[in-house]
Protein backbone atom coordinates (compact mmCIF):
# COMPACT_ATOMS: atom_id res chain seq x y z
CA UNK A 1 0.00 0.00 0.00
CA UNK A 2 2.21 2.85 1.23
CA UNK A 3 4.99 3.79 -1.13
CA UNK A 4 3.63 1.95 -4.19
CA UNK A 5 2.50 3.86 -7.24
CA UNK A 6 -1.11 4.74 -6.64
CA UNK A 7 -2.87 5.07 -10.03
CA UNK A 8 -6.32 6.14 -8.77
CA UNK A 9 -4.79 8.88 -6.61
CA UNK A 10 -2.66 10.15 -9.47
CA UNK A 11 -5.72 10.34 -11.76
CA UNK A 12 -7.73 12.27 -9.16
CA UNK A 13 -4.79 14.55 -8.49
CA UNK A 14 -4.33 15.15 -12.21
CA UNK A 15 -8.03 16.11 -12.46
CA UNK A 16 -7.66 18.52 -9.53
CA UNK A 17 -4.54 20.14 -10.96
CA UNK A 18 -6.04 20.48 -14.46
CA UNK A 19 -9.21 22.02 -13.10
CA UNK A 20 -7.39 24.45 -10.79
CA UNK A 21 -4.98 25.42 -13.58
CA UNK A 22 -8.08 26.22 -15.64
CA UNK A 23 -9.25 28.41 -12.77
CA UNK A 24 -5.80 30.01 -12.70
CA UNK A 25 -6.02 30.83 -16.41
CA UNK A 26 -9.40 32.47 -15.80
CA UNK A 27 -7.99 34.34 -12.79
CA UNK A 28 -4.85 35.43 -14.62
CA UNK A 29 -6.91 37.37 -17.15
CA UNK A 30 -8.55 39.23 -14.27
CA UNK A 31 -5.30 40.00 -12.44
CA UNK A 32 -4.34 43.41 -13.79
CA UNK A 33 -3.38 45.45 -10.71
CA UNK A 34 -1.66 44.94 -7.38
CA UNK A 35 -5.10 45.07 -5.76
CA UNK A 36 -6.14 42.04 -7.84
CA UNK A 37 -2.91 40.25 -7.11
CA UNK A 38 -2.94 40.69 -3.32
CA UNK A 39 -6.62 41.14 -2.54
CA UNK A 40 -8.57 39.53 -5.39
CA UNK A 41 -9.97 42.98 -6.23
CA UNK A 42 -11.91 42.84 -2.90
CA UNK A 43 -14.52 40.84 -4.78
CA UNK A 44 -14.83 37.71 -2.61
CA UNK A 45 -18.03 37.32 -0.56
CA UNK A 46 -18.02 36.63 3.17
CA UNK A 47 -19.25 33.07 2.65
CA UNK A 48 -16.61 32.32 -0.01
CA UNK A 49 -13.86 33.85 2.09
CA UNK A 50 -15.02 31.77 5.08
CA UNK A 51 -14.44 28.64 3.01
CA UNK A 52 -11.08 29.95 1.79
CA UNK A 53 -10.00 30.77 5.36
CA UNK A 54 -10.99 27.27 6.41
CA UNK A 55 -9.01 26.00 3.42
CA UNK A 56 -5.93 27.95 4.49
CA UNK A 57 -6.22 26.51 7.97
CA UNK A 58 -7.16 22.88 7.31
CA UNK A 59 -3.68 21.85 6.30
CA UNK A 60 -2.58 18.29 5.68
CA UNK A 61 -1.09 18.48 9.17
CA UNK A 62 -4.50 18.96 10.73
CA UNK A 63 -6.32 16.47 8.48
CA UNK A 64 -3.84 13.60 8.38
CA UNK A 65 -1.97 14.60 11.55
CA UNK A 66 -4.91 14.91 13.91
CA UNK A 67 -6.68 11.86 12.47
CA UNK A 68 -3.46 9.93 13.06
CA UNK A 69 -2.98 11.35 16.54
CA UNK A 70 -6.52 10.31 17.47
CA UNK A 71 -6.14 6.89 15.84
CA UNK A 72 -3.01 6.17 17.90
CA UNK A 73 -3.70 8.09 21.13
CA UNK A 74 -7.46 8.59 21.21
CA UNK A 75 -8.59 11.54 23.29
CA UNK A 76 -5.31 13.51 23.08
CA UNK A 77 -6.00 14.60 19.51
CA UNK A 78 -8.89 16.66 20.84
CA UNK A 79 -6.48 18.87 22.81
CA UNK A 80 -4.92 20.15 19.59
CA UNK A 81 -8.26 20.46 17.80
CA UNK A 82 -9.76 22.69 20.49
CA UNK A 83 -6.62 24.82 20.69
CA UNK A 84 -6.56 25.36 16.94
CA UNK A 85 -10.22 26.31 16.88
CA UNK A 86 -10.41 28.77 19.78
CA UNK A 87 -8.08 31.19 18.00
CA UNK A 88 -10.85 31.96 15.51
CA UNK A 89 -13.32 33.68 17.85
CA UNK A 90 -10.34 35.79 19.02
CA UNK A 91 -9.68 36.85 15.42
CA UNK A 92 -13.35 37.71 15.07
CA UNK A 93 -13.63 39.76 18.26
CA UNK A 94 -10.31 41.61 18.12
CA UNK A 95 -8.78 41.56 14.66
CA UNK A 96 -10.93 40.98 11.58
CA UNK A 97 -12.89 44.25 11.29
CA UNK A 98 -10.20 46.78 12.29
CA UNK A 99 -7.75 44.92 10.05
CA UNK A 100 -10.07 45.17 7.05
CA UNK A 101 -10.82 48.82 7.69
CA UNK A 102 -7.25 49.97 8.33
CA UNK A 103 -5.13 47.98 5.93
CA UNK A 104 -4.58 47.54 2.24
CA UNK A 105 -2.72 44.30 1.47
CA UNK A 106 -0.81 43.08 4.53
CA UNK A 107 -1.32 43.22 8.30
CA UNK A 108 1.80 45.36 8.43
CA UNK A 109 -0.28 48.13 6.84
CA UNK A 110 -2.25 48.23 10.10
CA UNK A 111 0.74 48.11 12.45
CA UNK A 112 2.48 50.87 10.49
CA UNK A 113 -0.64 52.98 9.96
CA UNK A 114 0.19 55.88 12.32
CA UNK A 115 3.85 54.99 13.00
CA UNK A 116 7.03 55.69 11.06
CA UNK A 117 6.71 53.51 7.99
CA UNK A 118 10.26 52.32 7.34
CA UNK A 119 11.38 50.90 10.71
CA UNK A 120 7.99 49.32 11.44
CA UNK A 121 7.62 47.78 7.99
CA UNK A 122 11.15 46.43 8.12
CA UNK A 123 10.59 44.82 11.54
CA UNK A 124 7.17 43.52 10.64
CA UNK A 125 8.46 41.97 7.41
CA UNK A 126 11.02 40.09 9.45
CA UNK A 127 8.24 38.77 11.71
CA UNK A 128 6.16 37.82 8.69
CA UNK A 129 9.00 36.09 6.89
CA UNK A 130 9.96 34.13 10.02
CA UNK A 131 6.41 32.77 10.23
CA UNK A 132 6.10 32.13 6.49
CA UNK A 133 9.47 30.38 6.18
CA UNK A 134 9.08 28.10 9.21
CA UNK A 135 5.58 27.16 8.08
CA UNK A 136 6.78 26.62 4.50
CA UNK A 137 9.56 24.30 5.69
CA UNK A 138 7.06 22.27 7.73
CA UNK A 139 4.65 22.05 4.79
CA UNK A 140 7.23 21.26 2.10
CA UNK A 141 8.97 18.54 4.11
CA UNK A 142 5.61 17.13 5.16
CA UNK A 143 4.44 17.17 1.56
CA UNK A 144 7.48 15.33 0.22
CA UNK A 145 7.20 12.64 2.88
CA UNK A 146 3.44 12.27 2.52
CA UNK A 147 3.40 12.19 -1.25
CA UNK A 148 6.01 9.47 -1.15
CA UNK A 149 3.65 7.46 1.06
CA UNK A 150 0.46 8.40 -0.78
CA UNK A 151 1.55 8.21 -4.40
CA UNK A 152 4.83 6.37 -4.35
CA UNK A 153 6.61 9.35 -5.93
CA UNK A 154 10.20 10.22 -5.14
CA UNK A 155 10.61 12.86 -2.38
CA UNK A 156 12.50 15.38 -4.51
CA UNK A 157 10.10 14.95 -7.44
CA UNK A 158 7.15 15.50 -5.10
CA UNK A 159 8.64 18.67 -3.62
CA UNK A 160 9.38 20.05 -7.09
CA UNK A 161 5.82 19.28 -8.32
CA UNK A 162 4.30 21.01 -5.29
CA UNK A 163 6.57 24.01 -5.81
CA UNK A 164 5.89 24.26 -9.56
CA UNK A 165 2.10 23.93 -9.41
CA UNK A 166 1.83 26.25 -6.42
CA UNK A 167 4.00 28.85 -8.13
CA UNK A 168 1.79 28.70 -11.22
CA UNK A 169 -1.28 29.50 -9.12
CA UNK A 170 0.36 32.42 -7.33
CA UNK A 171 2.43 33.86 -10.16
CA UNK A 172 -0.34 34.04 -12.75
CA UNK A 173 -3.56 34.01 -10.78
CA UNK A 174 -2.48 35.85 -7.61
CA UNK A 175 -5.04 36.03 -4.83
CA UNK A 176 -8.00 35.33 -7.15
CA UNK A 177 -6.64 31.92 -8.16
CA UNK A 178 -5.34 31.17 -4.66
CA UNK A 179 -8.73 31.95 -3.14
CA UNK A 180 -10.63 29.71 -5.55
CA UNK A 181 -8.13 26.90 -5.17
CA UNK A 182 -8.71 27.19 -1.40
CA UNK A 183 -12.48 27.19 -1.83
CA UNK A 184 -12.42 24.12 -4.11
CA UNK A 185 -10.04 22.31 -1.80
CA UNK A 186 -12.07 23.18 1.31
CA UNK A 187 -15.23 21.76 -0.31
CA UNK A 188 -13.43 18.57 -1.41
CA UNK A 189 -11.84 18.11 2.01
CA UNK A 190 -15.01 18.81 4.00
CA UNK A 191 -17.08 16.71 1.59
CA UNK A 192 -14.68 13.77 1.49
CA UNK A 193 -14.16 13.75 5.26
CA UNK A 194 -17.91 14.01 5.91
CA UNK A 195 -18.69 11.07 3.59
CA UNK A 196 -16.04 9.01 5.36
CA UNK A 197 -17.40 9.93 8.77
CA UNK A 198 -20.93 8.99 7.68
CA UNK A 199 -19.77 5.60 6.38
CA UNK A 200 -17.89 5.00 9.66
CA UNK A 201 -20.88 6.03 11.76
CA UNK A 202 -23.26 3.91 9.66
CA UNK A 203 -21.45 0.88 11.03
CA UNK A 204 -22.18 2.03 14.58
CA UNK A 205 -25.88 2.89 14.39
CA UNK A 206 -25.03 6.58 13.64
CA UNK A 207 -24.05 7.04 17.27
CA UNK A 208 -20.46 8.17 17.91
CA UNK A 209 -20.67 6.82 21.46
CA UNK A 210 -21.01 3.26 20.09
CA UNK A 211 -17.82 3.89 18.11
CA UNK A 212 -15.95 5.23 21.17
CA UNK A 213 -17.22 2.32 23.29
CA UNK A 214 -15.97 -0.16 20.70
CA UNK A 215 -12.58 1.60 20.65
CA UNK A 216 -12.35 1.36 24.43
CA UNK A 217 -13.34 -2.31 24.29
CA UNK A 218 -10.55 -3.05 21.81
CA UNK A 219 -7.76 -0.81 23.12
CA UNK A 220 -8.66 -0.16 26.75
CA UNK A 221 -10.43 2.71 28.43
CA UNK A 222 -7.24 4.81 28.17
CA UNK A 223 -8.08 5.88 24.61
CA UNK A 224 -11.00 7.91 25.99
CA UNK A 225 -8.84 9.56 28.68
CA UNK A 226 -6.11 12.21 28.58
CA UNK A 227 -2.77 10.52 28.01
CA UNK A 228 0.58 11.69 29.26
CA UNK A 229 2.26 12.35 25.93
CA UNK A 230 0.70 15.50 24.57
CA UNK A 231 0.56 17.71 27.63
CA UNK A 232 3.44 17.04 29.97
CA UNK A 233 3.54 19.83 32.52
CA UNK A 234 1.11 22.53 33.54
CA UNK A 235 3.33 25.38 32.32
CA UNK A 236 3.88 23.68 29.01
CA UNK A 237 0.11 23.32 28.68
CA UNK A 238 -0.49 27.00 29.42
CA UNK A 239 2.24 28.04 27.01
CA UNK A 240 1.08 25.76 24.19
CA UNK A 241 -2.47 27.01 24.70
CA UNK A 242 -1.35 30.62 24.26
CA UNK A 243 0.57 29.79 21.10
CA UNK A 244 -2.35 27.93 19.51
CA UNK A 245 -4.93 30.52 20.52
CA UNK A 246 -3.10 33.75 19.64
CA UNK A 247 -0.81 32.31 16.99
CA UNK A 248 -3.78 31.89 14.67
CA UNK A 249 -4.42 35.62 15.06
CA UNK A 250 -0.88 36.35 13.88
CA UNK A 251 -0.63 34.15 10.78
CA UNK A 252 0.11 36.47 7.82
CA UNK A 253 -1.62 34.30 5.21
CA UNK A 254 -4.79 34.15 7.30
CA UNK A 255 -4.75 37.90 8.06
CA UNK A 256 -4.20 38.72 4.38
CA UNK A 257 -7.48 37.01 3.49
CA UNK A 258 -9.51 39.76 5.16
CA UNK A 259 -8.53 42.16 2.40
CA UNK A 260 -10.23 40.05 -0.25
CA UNK A 261 -13.74 40.98 0.91
CA UNK A 262 -15.46 44.30 0.17
CA UNK A 263 -15.97 45.57 3.74
CA UNK A 264 -15.67 44.94 7.49
CA UNK A 265 -19.07 43.29 7.70
CA UNK A 266 -18.03 40.72 5.09
CA UNK A 267 -14.81 40.16 7.05
CA UNK A 268 -16.90 39.46 10.15
CA UNK A 269 -19.19 37.05 8.28
CA UNK A 270 -16.20 35.25 6.78
CA UNK A 271 -14.72 34.49 10.22
CA UNK A 272 -18.09 33.19 11.36
CA UNK A 273 -18.20 30.73 8.47
CA UNK A 274 -14.56 29.80 8.95
CA UNK A 275 -15.21 29.02 12.63
CA UNK A 276 -18.20 26.85 11.76
CA UNK A 277 -16.35 24.92 9.03
CA UNK A 278 -13.16 24.44 11.00
CA UNK A 279 -15.01 23.35 14.16
CA UNK A 280 -17.07 20.83 12.18
CA UNK A 281 -13.93 19.62 10.46
CA UNK A 282 -12.22 18.92 13.79
CA UNK A 283 -15.24 17.06 15.14
CA UNK A 284 -15.32 14.99 11.92
CA UNK A 285 -11.59 14.31 12.17
CA UNK A 286 -12.09 13.02 15.72
CA UNK A 287 -14.66 10.51 14.38
CA UNK A 288 -12.29 9.52 11.56
CA UNK A 289 -9.43 8.94 14.01
CA UNK A 290 -11.56 6.62 16.14
CA UNK A 291 -12.92 5.00 12.99
CA UNK A 292 -9.37 4.20 11.89
CA UNK A 293 -8.50 2.92 15.36
CA UNK A 294 -11.43 0.46 15.31
CA UNK A 295 -11.87 -0.46 11.64
CA UNK A 296 -8.21 -0.46 10.59
CA UNK A 297 -6.45 -1.15 13.88
CA UNK A 298 -3.51 0.56 15.55
CA UNK A 299 -0.96 -2.10 14.59
CA UNK A 300 -1.92 -1.88 10.91
CA UNK A 301 -1.69 1.94 10.94
CA UNK A 302 1.78 1.83 12.49
CA UNK A 303 2.86 -0.87 10.04
CA UNK A 304 2.27 1.41 7.03
CA UNK A 305 4.71 4.01 8.36
CA UNK A 306 4.39 7.78 8.41
CA UNK A 307 3.80 7.83 12.17
CA UNK A 308 0.00 7.62 11.99
CA UNK A 309 -0.36 10.11 9.14
CA UNK A 310 -1.77 7.38 6.90
CA UNK A 311 -4.66 6.59 9.27
CA UNK A 312 -7.29 8.56 7.36
CA UNK A 313 -6.30 7.40 3.84
CA UNK A 314 -6.14 3.72 4.90
CA UNK A 315 -9.50 4.10 6.59
CA UNK A 316 -10.88 5.34 3.26
CA UNK A 317 -9.49 2.26 1.54
CA UNK A 318 -10.86 -0.14 4.14
CA UNK A 319 -14.38 1.30 4.18
CA UNK A 320 -14.83 2.35 0.55
CA UNK A 321 -12.20 0.74 -1.64
CA UNK A 322 -9.32 1.86 -3.82
CA UNK A 323 -11.07 4.61 -5.74
CA UNK A 324 -12.08 6.46 -2.59
CA UNK A 325 -8.57 5.89 -1.21
CA UNK A 326 -7.20 7.55 -4.33
CA UNK A 327 -9.65 10.42 -3.91
CA UNK A 328 -8.64 11.06 -0.28
CA UNK A 329 -4.93 10.88 -1.16
CA UNK A 330 -5.48 13.41 -3.94
CA UNK A 331 -7.40 15.68 -1.55
CA UNK A 332 -4.49 15.52 0.90
CA UNK A 333 -2.07 16.51 -1.88
CA UNK A 334 -4.40 19.32 -2.98
CA UNK A 335 -4.51 20.51 0.62
CA UNK A 336 -0.75 20.85 0.78
CA UNK A 337 -0.66 22.71 -2.54
CA UNK A 338 -3.31 25.21 -1.51
CA UNK A 339 -1.77 25.98 1.89
CA UNK A 340 1.68 26.47 0.38
CA UNK A 341 0.21 28.82 -2.25
CA UNK A 342 -1.42 30.94 0.48
CA UNK A 343 1.86 31.13 2.40
CA UNK A 344 3.83 32.11 -0.68
CA UNK A 345 1.39 34.90 -1.45
CA UNK A 346 1.67 36.23 2.12
CA UNK A 347 5.45 36.13 1.89
CA UNK A 348 5.33 37.92 -1.47
CA UNK A 349 3.16 40.60 0.17
CA UNK A 350 5.83 41.23 2.80
CA UNK A 351 8.73 41.26 0.34
CA UNK A 352 7.15 43.39 -2.36
CA UNK A 353 4.45 45.54 -0.73
CA UNK A 354 6.11 46.13 2.66
CA UNK A 355 9.81 46.00 1.80
CA UNK A 356 10.07 47.07 -1.83
CA UNK A 357 7.21 49.51 -2.27
CA UNK A 358 7.07 51.04 1.21
CA UNK A 359 10.64 50.82 2.51
CA UNK A 360 12.81 51.00 -0.58
CA UNK A 361 10.54 53.11 -2.79
CA UNK A 362 9.11 55.19 0.04
CA UNK A 363 5.50 54.24 -0.70
CA UNK A 364 5.51 55.52 -4.28
CA UNK A 365 5.79 52.88 -6.96
CA UNK A 366 3.85 52.74 -10.21
CA UNK A 367 1.12 50.10 -10.41
CA UNK A 368 2.97 48.15 -13.08
CA UNK A 369 6.15 48.01 -11.03
CA UNK A 370 4.22 46.80 -7.96
CA UNK A 371 2.77 43.91 -9.93
CA UNK A 372 6.13 42.94 -11.42
CA UNK A 373 7.87 43.00 -8.04
CA UNK A 374 5.02 41.02 -6.45
CA UNK A 375 5.36 38.30 -9.11
CA UNK A 376 9.14 38.30 -8.83
CA UNK A 377 8.84 37.83 -5.05
CA UNK A 378 6.51 34.87 -5.57
CA UNK A 379 9.06 33.22 -7.82
CA UNK A 380 11.84 33.80 -5.27
CA UNK A 381 9.69 32.32 -2.51
CA UNK A 382 8.54 29.40 -4.64
CA UNK A 383 12.08 28.44 -5.59
CA UNK A 384 13.16 29.04 -1.99
CA UNK A 385 10.41 26.74 -0.73
CA UNK A 386 11.55 23.92 -3.02
CA UNK A 387 15.18 24.38 -1.95
CA UNK A 388 14.22 24.45 1.75
CA UNK A 389 12.10 21.34 1.24
CA UNK A 390 15.08 19.50 -0.26
CA UNK A 391 17.58 20.81 2.32
CA UNK A 392 15.40 19.76 5.25
CA UNK A 393 14.62 16.33 3.79
CA UNK A 394 14.56 13.65 6.45
CA UNK A 395 14.71 16.14 9.32
CA UNK A 396 12.14 15.96 12.07
CA UNK A 397 10.18 19.15 11.39
CA UNK A 398 7.19 18.46 13.64
CA UNK A 399 8.39 21.22 15.97
CA UNK A 400 8.33 23.75 13.12
CA UNK A 401 4.54 24.12 13.31
CA UNK A 402 4.75 24.89 17.04
CA UNK A 403 7.56 27.35 16.27
CA UNK A 404 5.43 29.02 13.60
CA UNK A 405 2.52 29.54 15.96
CA UNK A 406 4.82 30.79 18.76
CA UNK A 407 6.45 33.39 16.52
CA UNK A 408 3.07 34.45 15.13
CA UNK A 409 1.65 34.85 18.64
CA UNK A 410 4.74 36.67 19.96
CA UNK A 411 5.92 38.81 17.06
CA UNK A 412 2.78 39.64 15.07
CA UNK A 413 -0.19 39.49 17.41
CA UNK A 414 0.99 41.90 20.20
CA UNK A 415 2.12 44.60 17.76
CA UNK A 416 -1.13 44.32 15.82
CA UNK A 417 -3.32 44.57 18.92
CA UNK A 418 -1.40 47.47 20.46
CA UNK A 419 -1.34 49.45 17.24
CA UNK A 420 -5.13 49.28 16.95
CA UNK A 421 -6.18 49.60 20.58
CA UNK A 422 -3.49 51.53 22.44
CA UNK A 423 -3.12 55.26 21.89
CA UNK A 424 0.40 55.59 23.23
CA UNK A 425 1.99 52.81 21.18
CA UNK A 426 5.10 54.10 19.36
CA UNK A 427 7.31 53.20 16.41
CA UNK A 428 10.13 51.91 18.59
CA UNK A 429 7.68 50.13 20.87
CA UNK A 430 6.45 48.22 17.80
CA UNK A 431 9.94 47.50 16.48
CA UNK A 432 11.29 46.23 19.81
CA UNK A 433 8.17 44.16 20.46
CA UNK A 434 8.32 42.46 17.04
CA UNK A 435 12.06 41.86 17.24
CA UNK A 436 11.81 40.37 20.72
CA UNK A 437 8.89 38.19 19.64
CA UNK A 438 10.75 36.83 16.61
CA UNK A 439 14.25 36.32 17.94
CA UNK A 440 13.23 35.57 21.53
CA UNK A 441 11.08 32.70 20.30
CA UNK A 442 13.81 31.35 18.01
CA UNK A 443 16.39 31.54 20.81
CA UNK A 444 14.22 29.93 23.49
CA UNK A 445 13.13 27.10 21.15
CA UNK A 446 16.80 26.54 20.39
CA UNK A 447 17.70 26.45 24.09
CA UNK A 448 14.67 24.34 24.99
CA UNK A 449 13.94 20.62 25.11
CA UNK A 450 12.67 20.41 21.52
CA UNK A 451 16.06 21.15 19.97
CA UNK A 452 18.50 20.36 22.77
CA UNK A 453 17.01 16.99 23.80
CA UNK A 454 14.63 15.69 21.13
CA UNK A 455 16.72 16.78 18.13
CA UNK A 456 20.31 16.97 19.38
CA UNK A 457 20.04 14.15 21.91
CA UNK A 458 20.12 11.30 19.37
CA UNK A 459 22.83 13.10 17.36
CA UNK A 460 25.02 13.60 20.42
CA UNK A 461 24.50 9.95 21.28
CA UNK A 462 25.43 8.84 17.76
CA UNK A 463 28.56 10.99 17.78
CA UNK A 464 29.55 9.70 21.21
CA UNK A 465 32.54 7.43 21.60
CA UNK A 466 30.55 4.53 23.09
CA UNK A 467 31.87 1.29 21.55
CA UNK A 468 28.68 -0.81 21.71
CA UNK A 469 26.44 1.72 20.02
CA UNK A 470 23.11 -0.10 20.08
CA UNK A 471 23.12 -1.02 23.74
CA UNK A 472 24.27 2.35 24.97
CA UNK A 473 22.33 4.59 22.60
CA UNK A 474 19.44 5.05 25.00
CA UNK A 475 21.79 5.58 27.91
CA UNK A 476 23.77 8.14 25.92
CA UNK A 477 20.59 10.05 25.07
CA UNK A 478 19.63 10.10 28.73
CA UNK A 479 23.09 11.18 29.78
CA UNK A 480 22.97 13.97 27.20
CA UNK A 481 19.56 15.09 28.49
CA UNK A 482 20.77 15.10 32.08
CA UNK A 483 23.82 17.12 31.08
CA UNK A 484 21.84 19.66 29.06
CA UNK A 485 19.07 20.23 31.60
CA UNK A 486 21.64 21.14 34.26
CA UNK A 487 23.13 23.94 32.15
CA UNK A 488 22.37 27.51 33.18
CA UNK A 489 21.10 28.45 29.73
CA UNK A 490 18.66 25.57 29.43
CA UNK A 491 15.05 26.69 28.92
CA UNK A 492 12.68 24.07 30.34
CA UNK A 493 9.51 24.66 28.28
CA UNK A 494 8.83 23.04 24.91
CA UNK A 495 6.80 26.05 23.91
CA UNK A 496 8.21 29.47 24.90
CA UNK A 497 5.06 31.43 24.08
CA UNK A 498 4.18 32.13 27.70
CA UNK A 499 7.40 34.14 28.04
CA UNK A 500 7.82 35.49 24.55
CA UNK A 501 4.26 36.70 24.05
CA UNK A 502 3.95 38.38 27.46
CA UNK A 503 7.50 39.66 26.95
CA UNK A 504 6.57 41.21 23.60
CA UNK A 505 3.62 43.00 25.15
CA UNK A 506 5.73 44.23 28.10
CA UNK A 507 8.62 45.42 25.94
CA UNK A 508 6.23 47.18 23.55
CA UNK A 509 4.58 48.94 26.49
CA UNK A 510 7.80 49.88 28.33
CA UNK A 511 9.60 51.21 25.25
CA UNK A 512 6.51 53.19 24.22
CA UNK A 513 6.15 54.77 27.66
CA UNK A 514 9.87 55.60 27.96
CA UNK A 515 9.96 57.52 24.69
CA UNK A 516 6.53 58.94 23.83
CA UNK A 517 5.89 59.74 20.16
CA UNK A 518 3.65 62.74 19.64
CA UNK A 519 2.81 62.06 16.00
CA UNK A 520 1.77 58.49 16.72
CA UNK A 521 -0.48 59.60 19.55
CA UNK A 522 -2.09 62.27 17.37
CA UNK A 523 -2.74 59.70 14.69
CA UNK A 524 -4.76 57.52 17.05
CA UNK A 525 -8.00 59.47 16.60
CA UNK A 526 -7.82 58.67 12.90
CA UNK A 527 -7.09 54.98 13.65
CA UNK A 528 -10.06 54.80 16.00
CA UNK A 529 -12.33 56.44 13.43
CA UNK A 530 -11.17 54.38 10.52
CA UNK A 531 -11.14 51.10 12.46
CA UNK A 532 -14.87 51.55 12.87
CA UNK A 533 -15.93 53.33 9.74
CA UNK A 534 -13.44 52.21 7.14
CA UNK A 535 -12.14 54.43 4.35
CA UNK A 536 -13.13 58.09 4.53
CA UNK A 537 -16.36 58.75 2.67
CA UNK A 538 -16.44 61.68 0.25
CA UNK A 539 -19.33 63.28 2.17
CA UNK A 540 -17.52 63.32 5.53
CA UNK A 541 -17.25 66.89 6.82
CA UNK A 542 -13.60 66.81 7.83
Amino acid sequence: MGGETNIEAIIFFFLFVSFTLGVTYWAARRTKTAEHFYAAGRSITGFQNGLALAGDYMSAASFLGIAGLVALNGFDGLIYSTGWLVGWPIILFLIAEPLRNLGKYTFTDVVAYRLQQKPVRLASSIGTMAVVLTYLIAQMVGSGTLIKLLFGLDYTVAVIIVGAVMMTYVLFGGMIATTWVQVIKACLLLGGASIMALIVLSKFGFNPLNLFAKAAEMNGQRVLEPGTKVVTGAWDAVSLGLALMFGTAGLPHVLMRFYTVPDAKAARVSVMWATIWIGSFYLITFILGFGAMVLVGQQEILAVGGGGNMAAPILAQVIAGNIFFGFICAVAFATILAVVAGLTLAGAGALSHDLWVNVIRGGHAPEREQLVVARLSSVILGVGAVILGIVFQGQNVAYMVGLTFSIAASANFPALIMSVFWRRFTTWGAVSSIMFGTFGTLLLIYLGPTIQIDLLGPKAAAAGSAPDVVASAQAAIEAHAAHVTSQWWYFPLKNPCLFTMTGSFLIGIIVSLLAPERAAEDGFAEVERRALLGEPTPTAAE
Binding site: F75, L78, I79, S81, T82, G83, L85, V86, W88, P89, I90, L92, F93, L94, E97, P208, L209, N210, L211, F212, A213, K214, A215, A216, Q221, L224, E225, P226, T228, V231, G233, A234, D236, A237, V238, L240, G241, M245, K265, R268, V269, V271, M272, T275, I276, G279, Y282, L283, F421, D522, G523, A525, E526, E528, R529, A531, L532, L533, T537, E542
Partner: protein
Protein backbone atom coordinates in the same frame (compact mmCIF):
# COMPACT_ATOMS: atom_id res chain seq x y z
CA UNK B 1 -6.46 66.83 13.06
CA UNK B 2 -9.97 67.03 14.45
CA UNK B 3 -10.77 65.46 17.79
CA UNK B 4 -12.70 62.24 17.81
CA UNK B 5 -16.47 62.53 17.63
CA UNK B 6 -17.64 61.59 21.17
CA UNK B 7 -20.35 59.27 19.77
CA UNK B 8 -17.71 57.45 17.74
CA UNK B 9 -15.47 57.23 20.78
CA UNK B 10 -18.35 55.79 22.83
CA UNK B 11 -19.15 53.21 20.16
CA UNK B 12 -15.48 52.22 19.85
CA UNK B 13 -15.33 51.79 23.62
CA UNK B 14 -18.48 49.65 23.61
CA UNK B 15 -17.23 47.40 20.82
CA UNK B 16 -13.88 47.05 22.58
CA UNK B 17 -15.60 46.10 25.87
CA UNK B 18 -17.77 43.45 24.23
CA UNK B 19 -14.80 42.08 22.30
CA UNK B 20 -12.70 41.85 25.46
CA UNK B 21 -15.42 40.11 27.46
CA UNK B 22 -16.15 37.57 24.74
CA UNK B 23 -12.41 36.92 24.39
CA UNK B 24 -12.13 36.39 28.14
CA UNK B 25 -15.02 33.90 28.08
CA UNK B 26 -13.28 31.97 25.30
CA UNK B 27 -9.95 32.08 27.14
CA UNK B 28 -11.48 30.88 30.42
CA UNK B 29 -13.42 28.02 28.80
CA UNK B 30 -10.40 26.83 26.86
CA UNK B 31 -7.99 27.13 29.79
CA UNK B 32 -10.40 25.39 32.13
CA UNK B 33 -10.26 22.45 29.72
CA UNK B 34 -6.49 22.54 29.18
CA UNK B 35 -5.68 22.91 32.88
CA UNK B 36 -7.94 19.96 33.70
CA UNK B 37 -6.00 17.97 31.12
CA UNK B 38 -2.75 19.07 32.79
CA UNK B 39 -3.76 18.70 36.43
CA UNK B 40 -6.68 16.29 36.81
CA UNK B 41 -6.50 13.53 34.24
CA UNK B 42 -8.51 11.04 36.34
CA UNK B 43 -11.45 13.47 36.57
CA UNK B 44 -11.56 13.82 32.77
CA UNK B 45 -11.47 10.03 32.56
CA UNK B 46 -14.76 9.79 34.48
CA UNK B 47 -17.16 7.67 32.45
CA UNK B 48 -20.49 9.45 31.92
CA UNK B 49 -22.05 6.87 29.63
CA UNK B 50 -20.91 3.87 27.63
CA UNK B 51 -18.21 5.31 25.36
CA UNK B 52 -18.36 8.86 26.73
CA UNK B 53 -15.89 10.33 29.20
CA UNK B 54 -16.08 13.78 30.78
CA UNK B 55 -12.97 14.74 28.80
CA UNK B 56 -14.54 14.03 25.41
CA UNK B 57 -17.73 15.84 26.41
CA UNK B 58 -15.85 18.94 27.62
CA UNK B 59 -13.58 18.99 24.57
CA UNK B 60 -16.58 18.90 22.24
CA UNK B 61 -18.28 21.56 24.38
CA UNK B 62 -15.28 23.90 23.99
CA UNK B 63 -15.85 23.73 20.22
CA UNK B 64 -19.59 24.29 20.61
CA UNK B 65 -18.92 27.18 23.03
CA UNK B 66 -16.63 28.80 20.43
CA UNK B 67 -19.53 28.60 17.96
CA UNK B 68 -21.98 30.10 20.44
CA UNK B 69 -19.69 33.06 21.26
CA UNK B 70 -19.12 33.61 17.54
CA UNK B 71 -22.85 33.67 16.82
CA UNK B 72 -23.51 36.00 19.79
CA UNK B 73 -20.95 38.48 18.50
CA UNK B 74 -22.10 38.31 14.88
CA UNK B 75 -25.72 38.65 15.99
CA UNK B 76 -24.90 41.75 18.05
CA UNK B 77 -22.68 43.27 15.39
CA UNK B 78 -25.07 42.65 12.48
CA UNK B 79 -27.96 44.32 14.27
CA UNK B 80 -27.14 46.85 16.99
CA UNK B 81 -23.54 47.71 16.06
CA UNK B 82 -24.12 48.07 12.33
CA UNK B 83 -27.14 50.30 13.00
CA UNK B 84 -25.06 52.61 15.22
CA UNK B 85 -22.31 52.68 12.61
CA UNK B 86 -24.79 53.62 9.91
CA UNK B 87 -26.01 56.51 12.10
CA UNK B 88 -22.44 57.72 12.65
CA UNK B 89 -21.75 57.66 8.93
CA UNK B 90 -24.64 60.04 8.27
Amino acid sequence: MAHTDPRLHALAARRWRIAIWLSIFMLVAYYAFILLVAFDKPLLGTVLAEGLTLGILLGALVIVFAWILTLIYVGWANSSYDRDLAQLRR
